[in-house]
């Protein structure tokens, strides 16, 4: 390790690195800082120039956002939807990952199946949302949480399955072969060996599923109205109708960021390995 780090003996290398990282850090932090600042300064000062960088802080904007309860309801909807989407996507992806990689198969069919799984991620949202809307109107699923869960699962399950397939691929085939040689059924091999080994990958996949579902906007915008409105749609409508002032909008934005920031903070390692899995040479 050491020799690698000292391989450029001049001082310019590390110096440039630190400058670069410093600039990039500022670039990442500044918009986040600005949002938090706007949510905390008094509303009358939110837009004034020169800006009020960080003084007169208060949480009155947050109190105003939650005073009506509409936003809280929307957040609750978001939570229900993302929990369900995450559970369904990870469940489907885990089973499929095991089935595709550790049971005997026809290679050509498997390749096509995997491409089909991935292609669900490519569909432009209108091609999914519009037909689903018409179907939902017929079977009375429009503006319901269930309808939104089904639609979001369609767009999330592809990438989650891809991650789980790669996860199971990284488990050596010999481990499961040994279990089957001992007379394990496929289900038992999955439950006692496959699943425990794949669990870290599943946590990473679940983190990504939660992020995608919690942040999803298009389907929620088209398929829900008021009864099943999610956090991002509520915020969008606040912005559009200017029913809240700048500070309150910023406060609502910050509140929407909190769950994903917490999840990423907790499961950062798994998230990173989940995203990297697709590139690992199996």
């Amino acid at each position: 390790m050491k020799s690698v780090r000292t391989r450029s003996p001049r001082w310019t290398g590390p110096f440039l690195r630190w400058i670069g990282l410093g600039v990039y850090t500022l670039w990442v932090i500044f918009p986040l800082y600005w949002l938090i600042r706007t949510s905390l300064v008094p509303s009358v000062d939110a837009n004034s120039l020169p800006p009020d960088w960080f003084s007169h802080l208060g949480i009155s904007s947050y109190q105003a956002v939650f005073s009506s309860g509409a936003f809280l309801t929307a957040l609750l909807h978001s939570l229900i939807v993302s929990a369900c989407v995450t559970a369904v996507a990870v469940l489907c992806g885990t089973f499929a990952g095991f089935g595709l990689t550790h049971l005997r198969r026809n290679v050509r069919v498997t390749g096509n199946y995997e491409f089909w799984v991935l292609s669900s991620r490519m569909a432009p949202p209108i091609a999914v949302a519009l037909p689903l809307y018409f179907i939902y109107v017929k079977i009375h699923l429009e503006d319901t949480l269930l309808g939104l869960i089904i639609a979001q699962t369609a767009t999330v399950v592809g990438i989650i399955s891809w991650i789980m397939i790669e996860t199971f691929r990284s488990i050596p085939a010999e481990v499961l072969e040994a279990a089957e040689a001992d007379g394990c059924s496929s289900w038992r091999a999955f439950r006692t060996i496959g699943w425990p080994l794949a669990r870290p990958g599943a946590v990473g996949a679940a983190t990504i599923a939660f992020l995608l579902s919690w942040n999803e906007f298009f389907l929620a915008l088209v398929l829900t109205n008021t009864a099943a409105r999610t956090g991002p749609v509520a915020l969008y409508q606040f912005i559009g109708y200017e029913s809240l002032n700048l500070g309150q909008l910023a406060a609502a934005s910050c509140v929407i960021l909190i769950p994903t920031v917490i999840v990423v903070g907790l499961f950062q390692r798994q998230l990173v390995s989940g995203l990297t899995f697709g590139a690992v040479k199996g």
Binding site: L32, W34, L35, A96, A127, S161, P232, Y236, V263, V272
Partner: protein, 334 residues
Amino acid sequence: MTSTRNAAASPSRPALRQRGWRKRGSGPAGTDARQGSPTRQPVDYQRRARRGFLLPLTLVLGVVTIAPFLYAVWLSLTDASPLQHGTHFTGIKNYETLVTSSSFWQAALTTIIFTVVAVAVELTLAILVGYALHRLRRGGSALRTLFILPMAAAPIAVMYDWQLIFNALSGVANYLLGKVGLPQPDWLGSAHMALPSLMIIDIWQWTPFILVIIVGGLSSIPDEIYEAAQVDGASALQQMWRITVPLLRPYIMVACLFRVIDALKTFDSIQVLTSGGPGTATTTLNYYSFQQAINNLQFGPGTATALILLVIALLLTKFLLGRLEKSRGQAVAR
């Protein structure tokens, strides 16, 4: 390795399979993975179990992707619209109208420019930052967590944030530019700045995605390779170009694959910040399909545009996956 090479040798077939089987594959493996040790269960039993494991995903994908897809194909062949009575089958008329209209090609061009420039900048930034981050003595993990945050943030909240920052009159971006005496553009309101502004936001939000994958790739490169290169007298630049970039190629390909797919579908920023304008300056194909279908209630042309975009995305993915499999083979061969 055998199966990896086999896959690379047959580019016409989907390239995702076979890797997990290379340990088992003996002889001409990769073409048929059904051979196993004699102690394994009967083939039809395994096939049934496999079907059981694939059932949930097949059901979900079948219901929520195939049905809407077929419906969308049908819609694209009609003049369906709530503005008129009845729906008529019009054949490929919608597609004909699209490919002969200049606004469609304008949107296609905007999509290509946005995707290519945004992903290229994101990739360059991610490689540079990832490299610096990887060689950090301490604090790397804390910085990495910080750098991931934009990706985790809800796009609508992020867009509102940038709306504040990019405001021509009261935004902090122009305030700071004015302080140092630089020109203060109308970021989102002028035709020549709106698309670059959306790119800047996309770069802010999605460089982390590529960065995460690059850092994962960098940590997989053994230090011995660099040590050997140093002994041979390779300069830092040579090491970067001869070792780091080639070994990172599979990771770069995967990152590009997912970013390109998502960039083609960019919607949130356009809807919140510019609504495709000013004029049509930020109308991408995806937003064009939304405008036609939702704003103009022309379901036929809207879905037709979306399906054309889907075909483009599928072809691009096929291509990138082929390249990915190839770069994996090369990385293994090295």
